[in-house]
Subunit: 511 residues, 2 copies
């Protein structure tokens, strides 16, 4: 007997969305290539390719036929009774209602300008020249604000413009909710950072300065990815200026990291594990027959980030991880780590120390970076902060939060790629990810009592299975808040992250 | 005063074709990625991407709107009087009339099956297992024959199926014309090869066995490409199993070569120069405002190949080239070539010796490889040779032409990628390229009396300018036969190539 999803309108809808997703996967490849191997002179035409593809995907997602089929599916009782199909229809409705509000021309223009602005950003960042980037930031912000204005029609009463953007990355979340979570967290994190500074305790971080050839670092990264369960026959690891993960297509998940000349091997390794965490999620989403349906997609960026942060921080900075990984690193990097002890590397990996660059920040101060960006971008979208005034505001806030003077724009407001693309509302999902990860981690440790022991032997299969079972395989069946409650029995809260960081600081700094 | 091409139908047509070409450029990138960096598990979805993109490009090129606009342009007297516009309209008409004959479904299916078959071919070639590839070859041949049947409606009376395919790559050329050129050429080349074999003269080819790390070879290749004038800011050089050049998009021309473990550095260098010759043509086609118009495209594959073969053989195997390049190679490869003399390397680069692999063949026997493939594929398309019987026929012909027993399919009928893609009618253009190159080379030497002297100093600017001026900048303004007459004052003939090879054999073998 055919199941309810065998009915004609559902099948046709599925085929249409699969085609849109296939075009989207081409766009993702084009974008990956721009970051990795594209010759510099190709930038102008690349923006035409990006604009054309974005427009074609948008046209397909918003075609009247999709709307008609969706309505047919919604009126089909058998589909409503199938939990999987009902969740897909609920999420397709959401996507459709949002997409149809935004004109295709605006989508194409954002892709075109974003592609060009990104190349300008790269150059401006290299030269630490904010004035060069400023007019492009202004254009991107203007276009993004227009997009938000169109999307406001889908938002509940009382929503602000920023919410309409945030909703793209973290469905259902609002700026006010984030502010309510961030405000007390900021107080606790600042207290923690001050306690560390006041402890008089300094940490031996000499191991973080050990220089290792990039090829050897790549070997270690590949070995760790393999142990994590990332399938390199269905993925890659390349190097870029800004590490990222792109779940391009079924069987094609690509990670990047960067190997620094001066910065030692820890930061690149954590970059690799971070992107590897994203990559595991992408590889375990059900992208076979369901590719293009919401059930093959990630819940939200916050949940996505919980996966990357978990592998980077909760696994990668643990003593158990280094029990397994240090001998591997010693062998590959010989003789560079010959005298390094487990204590030394574990302590160095857990130092807390304010620094300029977000992606190089320690686990505690990282969230202060995010809070600052959230407040600044929210103000820019609301029209309370002119893009030209950004560097001054950035530097003032940075001084307040970190007690440091920003020396140049490269280490200040030009450090991140996001705004050049028009990714506004994206930053807070990083800290949401840390919160989700900490809350899940407590449950994981309750569910898997032997986890530490397994990790110390390089066996991550229990953890990976738990993540596949509880998070990855569901796609978008549950919204982030529901998934969190379903897994942990509680709503998202800051207690677990604060407890985790306090424990870490206690162990490392004795305060 | 606006020129004739400012008129509305011409502009709209130009915009439509630019969009089709932009989508085509995305398809080219997707295809380049499949050869270079794609993870193996991505193959199945990649074939969906390729099929979708091919179908979209075909739909755009064959849309009724294009037909209407073309008819409007044809009835516009001012456009007919502009030589550039008239040539574009003539070529657009040709492209449109051919394209509309082939159903979009068949175009997509060929792209899909070709993409899958190519992955099977790679594996089958690695295992030297023809039986594994056979069913896919059969599918590709069947689809290609169907395409040829549709295209027959555009062909003059008396044409054979093969002509309809050949016409795609070498417009206006027929199998009968090729056979008429190849038959006497084969006699002369076979005579030359026999004379060499009978001369009793052996050549010191020890330098061709010198092993050099791939990274150093890459440095030499990059240096030579730079001297040739290939712009690496608008291109790349990567490594693949099968070297190729893809003029992906404006500002984006990508070359590949392969560095062999055992085979020395000469073959990879000639691979690089060969693809560099293609690349220079692509980089100098007028792809700015005219991208998508025939004026931005290459005349034919034969003319394209004349560019690659000229740099590989007429430049790269010359004594003058090595006067400049040997000291560079000695420095980069030190101490591997310390004792190598100019005579040694020049002689080794010009040996004539039958071998199994086409892309590794010497300048003289190369054409015998091509003739064999031409005859076999022509027979397969005509239905006179079943795909299952290919290995036997291949091996028999090879024995006849080269006097060698083919040891396995990897060194026999599985060596080339072309048939897996459905590229039938493509092979003869390689020998046409050699013929065009030789005929142009005589004219170039008459026009540029100081060329040898310039080349011995690493100055290729005079040659490059000549090629840009006489070939590259014209795009498809002249058909290949007209371009040949325009440049050399004569129709294509085999005399120059035969004279060139005779001179080479005389110098190297004294016969």
């Amino acid at each position: 007997m055919p199941g309810p999803t065998e009915c004609a309108p559902y099948q046709e809808l599925k085929n249409l969305l699969r085609e849109a997703a296939t075009l989207g996967s081409v766009g993702a490849l084009v974008s990956w290539d721009q970051e990795t191997y594209m010759p510099s002179a190709a930038g102008a035409h690349r923006s035409e390719q990006a604009a054309l593809l974005s427009g074609l995907v948008h046209e397909r997602k918003t075609s009247p036929r999709v709307g008609d089929l969706l309505a047919e599916c919604e009126s089909e009782p058998a589909l409503r009774e199938s939990e999987g199909a009902a969740a897909n229809i609920r999420e397709m409705r959401r996507d459709y209602d949002r997409a149809v509000r935004v004109p295709t021309e605006l989508v194409s223009e954002l892709a075109r300008v974003g592609s060009l602005a990104q190349d300008v950003w790269k150059e401006a960042r290299g030269k630490s020249d904010f004035a060069m980037f400023a007019p492009w930031l202004d254009r991107v912000m203007g276009l993004t604000r227009r997009k938000a204005e169109f999307l406001m029609a889908t938002m509940p009463p009382g929503a602000e413009l920023y919410d309409a953007l945030l909703d793209e990355y973290e469905p259902g979340m609002t700026a006010a909710q984030i502010q309510a979570t961030f405000t007390p967290l900021k107080v606790q994190l600042s207290g923690l950072v001050q306690a560390v500074a006041g402890s008089g305790h300094t940490v031996d971080v000499s191991v973080t300065k050990v220089q290792v050839p990039a090829a050897r670092q790549h070997q270690l990264g590949t070995l760790v990815l393999g142990a994590m369960g990332f399938d390199l026959r269905a993925g890659r690891l390349d190097t870029t200026a800004h590490p990222f993960c792109s779940g391009i297509a079924p069987g094609d998940t690509r990670l990047t990291t960067r190997y620094t000349e001066r910065g030692g091997f820890l930061e690149p390794l954590y970059g690799t594990m971070h992107e590897g965490g994203h990559g595991l999620y992408e590889q375990n989403l059900p992208k076979g027959d369901e590719f293009g349906l919401p059930s093959s997609e990630a819940v939200s960026l916050g949940i996505h980030e919980s996966q990357s942060r978990m592998w980077e921080n909760f696994v990668g900075r643990s003593r158990a991880f280094w029990q397994w990984a240090l001998p591997k690193a010693k062998e590959l990097f010989s003789p560079a780590l010959d005298t390094c002890t487990l204590d030394q590397i574990h302590t160095a990996a857990n130092q807390v120390s304010p620094s300029y660059i977000r992606v190089e920040a320690d686990e505690a101060t990282y969230n202060l970076h995010i809070m600052m960006r959230f407040e600044l971008e929210r103000a820019m979208i609301a029209g309370n902060l002119a893009t030209g005034d950004l560097p001054g505001h950035w530097n003032d806030r940075f001084k307040q939060s970190f007690g440091l003077e920003v020396p140049d724009a490269r280490r200040g407001c030009l450090q991140d790629v996001h705004w050049s693309f028009g990714l506004i509302g994206y930053f807070p999902t990083y800290t949401l990810g840390n919160l989700y990860a900490a809350q899940m981690w407590e449950k994981i440790n309750a569910d898997l009592p032997g986890l530490d022991d397994q990790m110390s032997r390089g066996d991550f299969s229990g953890l990976r299975s738990w993540l596949v079972e509880n998070v990855h395989r569901h796609g978008r069946r549950y919204r982030a808040a529901d998934l969190c409650r379903r897994i942990t029995g509680r709503s998202l809260e800051s207690g677990p992250l604060v407890r985790h960081l306090q424990g870490k600081v206690k162990a490392t700094y004795g305060v």
